[in-house]
Symmetry: C2
Subunit: 337 residues, 2 copies
Amino acid sequence: MGTVPTIRDVARSAGVAIGTVSRVLNGHKSVGDEVRRRVLTAVTSLGYEPDVVAQSMRLGVTRTIACATRDIAIPGLGSNINAAEEVLGRHGYILMVATTEGRTKRDLELLRVFAQRRVDAVFIATSSEDDPELNARLEQMKVPVVLMDRDAPDSLDAVLTDHRRGTREAAEDLIGLGHSRIALLTGPASTRPARERVRGFEEAIASLGRRRRECTVRLGSFSAEFGCREALALLSPEPRPTAIIAGGMEMLAGVLRAIRALALRIPDDVSLIAGADTDLASLATPAITIVRWSEADVGRVAAELLLERLQGRRIGPARRIVLPTELVIRESCGAPR
Amino acid sequence: MGTVPTIRDVARSAGVAIGTVSRVLNGHKSVGDEVRRRVLTAVTSLGYEPDVVAQSMRLGVTRTIACATRDIAIPGLGSNINAAEEVLGRHGYILMVATTEGRTKRDLELLRVFAQRRVDAVFIATSSEDDPELNARLEQMKVPVVLMDRDAPDSLDAVLTDHRRGTREAAEDLIGLGHSRIALLTGPASTRPARERVRGFEEAIASLGRRRRECTVRLGSFSAEFGCREALALLSPEPRPTAIIAGGMEMLAGVLRAIRALALRIPDDVSLIAGADTDLASLATPAITIVRWSEADVGRVAAELLLERLQGRRIGPARRIVLPTELVIRESCGAPR
DNA sequence: ATGAAAGCGCTAACAT
DNA sequence: ATGTTAGCGCTTTCAT
């Protein structure tokens, strides 16, 4: 038999009706011991595996969850997806992943693909929070959606990180050290992490009074390239910032490259605080002070929110869960010269 | 209408038969312009999205590809999956991902899940290549399988990396510098990358003559923890190795931690060469000499092999594609003291 | 306790 | 050019 066996083959081989096979496989009580045994024997001898596609069709659920992010290779995102996959997997769900490359068009395209594939839920870090069409489509989804580090549209569940507090504490630390020419580099204003970082930054530099004008904010992209380019532009001409906050998971590498290229010393020439706890941050010389949070927790919590919705344990309005950040002081900050 | 519209709803709304709707949607020529227009209007006004589950059931293909690896958060693996997802996505396939945590039991479990879900193909970096049951199941898969950096069972397509050459060149470089007490740290012998590194290493140290006995090989795990533990054990007692090759993508971080903990200097006290090109390797102080290869290429090539099989462009025997490595000399190696 | 049959949404073969 | 229908593999309702 060169073909994949179906429930019908099992039934024939066991000499029972297909309904009975189904009952055995799904653990229904009302099946005779002798019949059950025969069915199970047939199953193993044929190497039968139930067709999940057919089950999905019949049951109306796919036990599949979709996940869309900018790029899986970004340090923290792997941990995030890993963690989510782990809890989802324990409940029989499987993860479908796709990347958006930060293009809103691609978000829209993926939402459509996910709908067509009848996934049971989606979690997504959208490319932009202020695209009206994307927001509308997000709200029109027929399945639960959990936003990761995004808070619009606000009708959806979201798992957030307290970047505002993290950045505020980072800036306060720098100010405490005597800095006033501080630069914040982060992603596009259309994403919450960037906006929140700016808010936290502004809250902190308010204490600088009129000297706060010496501070700079550069928004644009979370990429290392952006970090490198902007740091280069910022640090080349005098007077240059005496401290930089690299607000994003990938950005540290870029900023570090710029600092090396200019042969600047940390923290003597420039103090540096990075977002995200990576091997690079902890093992760079000097070790880099960071705003730490757990992307694995984000993934885990997102998966749990999803499960609550899927299991009907929760039907109320959207929830937002804000996960904490922590400033980890290392050796990359000192007093300005 | 609170429910998801089906092709039947579209047909009713457009006043045609469902077969006609199907034909319009699938771009068959023999449909009148007027009718086509009516159908399309109905589709958009109802917000109809074809049910891919039903299509899969009917057509017998899911346009879904499964991917199993130890851990998505490992630096290179994200790039690998990213690249694969990108080429697969262009052809209408979507990726399902799952992690094995390096446990063979989990590989087996996933193979079964993938079979039940009727994925069209799978690519996998197995946890072990010498588990007879796993190998048997791999060969029994009814769909194309591509191995990533594994070469058993040999009836399957595989995309490999030339770790042997990479490690040989690394060791030769070290020997050229005057080292003879060289240690190689890498993963379990049940995986090809570890075995190949050992081969390359032994080829290189053969030139050492009887002094080759001073060299050490430690196999066990690709994890940073293993790297740290082994490096600690190796470097603590005298006489210690004068050079270490960290053979794995995650291992550099662990070895670096150990070296820091022992307050050793690179390259004065110990020379170091790492596998995989990470931000950490290029931005550490001193910058770390590495064996470079492209995980993104591995993912891309694997995806292309899969597509060839899926599109029937290839039916022959298994192919193995070996991707090159390159030794990138930086500042972490010097003459032994 | 078990069998028979309907039906999930779709495509393609067969009619007309 | 378009309508009708079988059937993909399964679960579940309805009989018996």
